[in-house]
Subunit: 345 residues, 2 copies
């Protein structure tokens, strides 16, 4: 089954849901251009989900995707939190910020019955998950909407796990991909493999359609994914400079600079490994830290540093999410990026 048939779209391109840098504007533009636009809901409360979906459905009649994280929220660990604050204290001192004033941020919430209550009214054509799947009860609610269900696999094992739970298609997220690794059966980053190796092995291992993600930035990358047997692609980084994205000025500047050539997996910003452009914090603390609190708790203590930095034009403390191929980033409408990706080569 092709992705176009499965999802009812014209072009084999899914726009990656990118929490924090886009909402319904981007999703509408991509869906109306013939791809599958995505609404990332990880940082939205139910009101925001309602508002964005109302806006989205008013502006497109095409299929769209609603994306949720499905991590288990951790129990805060005071000892780890204090070690984390100790690690960050010199930066607070340098910026003249009060480390005692850290607020528990909204962080990222997993898919919940509260969110599903909102979605009941919208019955989204596609629902995608990151970090595995929600509880069987929650998954059943999505099934009742008639939604096509997608989730990300970062290993062959995860792909088989998802297929055995009845997922409609699998997003094979290669190591090149920007943002959070969808890994959920292991927290060992050495299990994470490149898109070329992952997609081909997942295609051989499962019967459901496979969507290639990671390192794809132009029509040649899309053609390569299809040659490997993928049914389509999911692309995020190439959309980050579009006017429909809410990517910060700091993040945009980094994407346009040579710094974008060097990304790394880091858990400093949220507690989970995610790929971003290497910045001062990642260089000085090491991108992967055993001190960072569990996802998403690391975010709270980073927030004041990040906000202060960005107010002063600095991305030293910001998550500058990007994949390993930023060559597709253009300051053009998301519809143009979508068509560029789906062009004949």
């Amino acid at each position: 089954m092709t992705l176009k048939t499965l999802l009812g779209i014209d072009l084999p391109v899914i726009q990656s849901p990118m929490a924090g840098v886009q909402a319904s504007d981007m999703a509408v533009a991509v869906s109306n251009a013939g791809g599958l636009g995505s609404l990332p809901c990880a940082t939205f409360d139910p009101d925001a989900i309602d508002r964005e979906l109302t806006s989205l459905t008013a502006r497109t009649s095409k299929p769209f995707n609603v994306n949720f994280f499905c991590h288990v929220p951790p129990t805060p660990d005071p000892q780890r939190e204090s070690a984390w604050q100790e690690l960050l204290a010199p930066y607070y001192a340098e910026l003249g910020l009060d480390i005692q004033a850290i607020q528990v941020g909204p962080g990222r919430a997993p898919f919940s019955h509260d969110a599903a209550d909102i979605l009941d009214r919208f019955r989204p054509p596609v629902v995608s998950f990151h970090f595995g799947l929600p509880s069987p009860e929650l998954l059943a609610r999505a099934r009742k909407w008639g939604s096509t269900i997608l989730s990300s696999a970062t290993t062959v094992e995860e792909a088989l796990w998802l297929e055995s739970r009845g997922i409609d298609a699998i997003i094979a997220q290669g190591l090149e991909a920007g943002g959070h690794r969808g890994m959920f059966l292991s927290d060992d980053v050495t299990t994470q493999i490149g898109t070329l190796a992952l997609v081909r092995q997942v295609v051989q291992a499962v019967k459901v359609p496979v969507i290639a993600a990671g390192g794809i930035a132009d029509a040649h990358g899309v053609a390569a994914a299809l040659a490997m047997g993928a049914a389509g692609v999911q692309v995020g980084t190439a959309y980050l400079l579009c006017p429909e994205a809410s990517t910060s000025a700091t993040h945009r500047a980094a994407l346009k600079s040579d710094a974008s050539r060097h990304t790394a997996l880091t858990n400093l910003f949220t507690g989970r490994p995610a790929r971003g452009i290497v910045n001062r914090l990642m260089r000085e603390c090491g991108p992967m830290s055993t001190t960072a609190p569990a996802f998403p708790l690391a975010t709270a203590a980073m927030a004041p540093l990040r906000a202060h930095g960005e107010r002063h034009g600095s991305g030293d403390f910001s998550p500058l999410w990007a994949g390993q191929n930023t060559s597709g980033c253009r300051e053009v409408p998301a519809a143009d990026v979508t068509r560029m990706l789906a062009a004949e080569v």
Copy 2:
């Protein structure tokens, strides 16, 4: 220019030179099948190079590749060496081996005038380098043979560096690849990117033909590389079970097991990062160690542990080099693997 035109071969497939697991038997089989067979010379002294090339040229009239490392041999550091032996001492004790009896092994030698003196008589059609390029004087000798010169790039920066020095084609070695990373402008492994991202960006950055390496295990992988604009591929892992390979029984068993699904970059076996199947030593010491002596000095203290392990059927202390896609490994002649890779899809 296609790889076939550049190298005078029928199929766009280079067999990766794999020091330690193959010699002229493999190269002859691949070249006679229409690909480009490679003779890895990093572990050969001049006599062995002479012997293998004599044997190779007696058995094929097709183009072949001779491969050399071109690292700068390090000055031994007694302090690091003793820290290294301290780390390994418990394993020596467990196996009943004498850590005082460690011999300075032959290790791996870089391309040299002694080696070039032998090659003067063979004038190899293709010479490929790993870890950058040799001195201009040595490179000039290879040029005088009329050899086509290849070298590996692991980043866009390395590709531009090689192109500026007149290389004929660039092997873009993605992070999926097995064995030693060819990295030479940085020793930061976070600079290393996946094949899909690397190949496409190198193709866009340079004018010379680009050969894709890493994670390619079948004809679909080859088709994907060509779709990205690569002129051909270099494949190693898929050849490791061939009868023409001298892959050890231990290594073969690991490749055929589920363990082959989990590889990592490790510097424990030689001092430089190389991708191999995760084994006991990598798990217990961590795959990347700041204690390991500089390449290739780490090898000496590992050798007795490895030899003892392999005598007892254990790969606990062996470099089990493999890429992130072992799905192409078959116990079939190298000619069959070559044709399988070049098949229409």
